[in-house]
């Protein structure tokens, strides 16, 4: 690299592609390659050569061997900056036809560069506050629209997209079975392990069966299933509806007079309301099986005894409250996911944002609703 940006002609080796910028009495001479590849050097050389001159300037470009759009843009930009700084004009001389054409092509009157105003801190707080209000309004609107849609679909079931329902139940329910089974088996297993550690010293081995049965059916079965369904179907619904929203598919539906709540939201809600209790029952069974597995390995309890104990301790209320929870979770997941999906704006990035926000929101609501139900069931001794 040369230290001095201004290079004299005798340094020039004629066969390289290096750009050269020579200041003479009659103006500037540019030679070599004015290409994107040599752009870095060209930009620096021009910057140095044009830094301190004044008055009208002629730039001789006859020596430019090769030019492309990038090189031309750099030449033009430096020349324009010089013109602005010195209130003078730059003229090009000696341009070969292709150099002239490229300079011309890249020398357009530019619109002034628009700037995005930076948001002040206070303004940001104001906007966010305002947005929270907007959000609340939007959720209310969603609920209202959905209620209207539900009424419309009861009076005219033709409005609902029943054909999607089967596919949705399959995707949200049947396809989730393996993961629900595996996870709940493990949850039952570790619950039993922890219980066994605590109870074994007191000879309370058999009570592990009670604990696993109650914990799985009342809490873990519905909860773990809901978490899995939130991750699979909740994220899926939000992304699917979000993509439809940003690609104007929702608008297209509405333009055909089709209610998108009936067409998209209700089938998804119904699918989860059908699938989740079924998944929860399976989850309960596998959780108890997990407990049984632990008992087999760790405890002085035979399999028949364990099963018998489980049967005697489980009541309809245990399973029933769990299933009530699972239906509530189905509502939470389907409605939150669809609401977030339909509120999507801003392209692919927006879809990602609403999917994330749907899943996070759903997980929070699930835990909250679960606690609420557990407390209610305790209070009313169900």
């Amino acid at each position: 690299m040369r230290d001095d940006a201004r290079v004299t002609a005798k340094d020039a080796s004629p066969d390289t592609h290096e750009p050269l910028v020579v200041s003479g009495s009659d103006g500037l001479r540019v030679s070599g390659d004015a290409t994107l590849e040599q752009g870095g050097k060209l930009w620096k050389l021009l910057g140095a050569a044009l830094a301190d001159g004044t008055g009208n300037l002629s730039i001789d470009v006859a020596g430019i061997k090769t030019i492309d759009g990038g090189g031309a843009a750099l030449l033009i930009a430096r020349a324009r900056a010089y013109e602005q700084r010195t209130s003078s004009t730059v003229t090009w001389s000696g341009a070969a036809p292709s150099v002239a054409a490229m300079l011309d092509l890249n020398d357009r009157e530019l619109a002034p560069l628009p700037r995005r105003p930076r948001e002040r801190f206070l303004a940001q707080i104001g906007r966010v506050t305002y947005e929270i209000g907007d959000r609340a309004g939007a959720v209310l609107t969603f609920v209202g629209q959905l209620a209207a849609a539900t009424w419309a679909s009861i009076t005219g079931p033709r409005n609902v997209n029943w054909r999607d329902l089967y596919r949705l139940v399959e995707r949200a329910g049947a396809d989730a079975v393996p993961i629900v089974l595996l996870i709940n088996f493990l949850v039952g297993l570790i619950t039993a392990v922890q219980a066994a550690f605590q109870l074994k010293p007191y000879g309370g081995d058999i009570f592990v069966a009670d604990l696993v049965a109650k914990a799985m059916t009342r809490e873990f079965g519905p909860l773990m299933t809901a978490i899995i369904v939130a991750g699979r179907s909740g994220a899926g619904f939000a992304a699917e509806l979000g993509t439809m929203k940003v690609s104007e598919e929702i608008d297209a539906l509405r333009s055909m007079g089709i209610c998108h709540y009936c067409h998209l939201v209700l089938p998804r809600l119904l699918a989860l309301v059908i699938a989740m209790p079924v998944l929860t029952v399976l989850a309960n069974l596998l959780g108890i099986a997990g407990g049984l597995f632990t008992a087999m390995l760790y405890l002085d309890v035979t399999i028949p005894t364990f099963i018998q104990k489980t049967q005697s301790v489980l009541t309809l209320a245990d399973v029933g409250t769990g299933l009530i929870k699972s239906v509530a979770f189905a509502f939470v997941i389907a409605l939150s996911a669809c609401e977030r999906g339909l509120a999507t704006t801003g392209g692919a990035e927006g879809v990602g944002r609403s999917t994330t926000s749907a899943v996070v929101g759903i997980l929070f609501q699930i835990v909250f609703v679960n606690a609420l139900f557990t407390i209610l069931f305790q209070v009313f001794e169900i």
Binding site: P14, L36, W43, R108, R115
Partner: protein
């Protein structure tokens, strides 16, 4: 130092240098073959137009030419690249996708600047100068700081063209560049394409349906057909209009002929 003006006289647009050689190409998925037995050459400086009915595989053909997809059989050879495939490195082609394919999380200017930022060591202000020139070229200066979701379909298309041009590609692939453009911008785009091919010797492969534009800019065409599963006509557009015998080709160009005489 002697000025070497002779060397940079405008290239004769159609040269004998083969830049892309396609030999016995078949395109399809699994057992299904969409197009087969296609051979053609694209020469340096050509504006090579791929024609055909909707859904006949024009975009798919482009995706094969740039190496986004691999053929069922046959070969594609690109000068200086070999068999095209997607590799990490400075891109050998400029590509405009049919949908524009702008990155939604970046502003228009950041979209155009991306290849320059990644593959050159230019300073930010130099990159900004190039980006502004490219955007001015496609009539988008002023929209630099907009996100893709804030501009219209035609503007996205033009931003896509600016991005394809940013890295000064030797070969430019454009998938329906003028779809969604107003006639005035479309004509300007044609002129830009002509300038790029004339003065930079850029080779340009275009999918387009704009007959007026085809006659103005194309040096060579091929027409694909779904039922014939291959190329049904080839040659400069004027020659195709005069002498093509296939009904589809005739009716394709007749519309132009009719419009021409009104």
């Amino acid at each position: 130092m002697t000025p070497i003006t002779e060397d940079i006289a405008p290239l004769d647009r159609h040269t004998d240098d083969v830049v892309i050689r396609v030999h016995d190409l078949s395109i399809g998925w699994g057992d299904f073959t969409l197009l087969e037995g296609m051979s053609y050459d694209v020469h340096r400086g050509d504006v090579f137009v791929i024609l055909g009915g909707s859904g006949c595989g024009k975009s798919t053909m482009l995706r094969h030419l740039v190496g986004l997809e691999q053929p069922q059989s046959g070969t594609i050879h690109v000068e200086g690249v070999g068999t095209p495939s997607m590799v990490i490195g400075p891109p050998p082609f400029g590509i405009l996708f049919q949908s524009g394919a702008l990155f939604g999380s970046m502003t228009v200017a950041q979209n155009v600047a991306l290849p320059l930022r990644t593959w050159t060591d230019l300073e930010p202000d130099a990159i900004a100068a190039i980006v502004r020139a490219k955007l001015a070229l496609v009539g988008l200066d002023g929209a630099e700081n907009n996100l893709p979701s804030e501009i219209s379909g035609g503007m996205k298309k033009r931003a896509g063209i600016a991005r394809a041009l940013a890295f000064e590609p030797k070969i430019l692939f454009l998938d329906e560049p003028s779809a969604g453009l107003d006639p005035i911008t479309a004509v300007e785009l044609d002129e830009q394409i002509l300038t790029l091919s004339k003065h930079l010797g850029m080779t340009i492969v275009i999918v387009t349906h704009e007959l007026a534009s085809i006659f103005k800019i194309a040096t060579n065409c091929i027409m694909l057909d779904k039922t014939a599963r291959g190329i049904i006509a080839r040659g400069p557009p004027q020659a195709l209009r005069e002498s093509a015998k296939q009904p589809f080709v005739q009716s394709f160009f007749r519309r132009e002929a009719l419009e021409d005489h009104t």
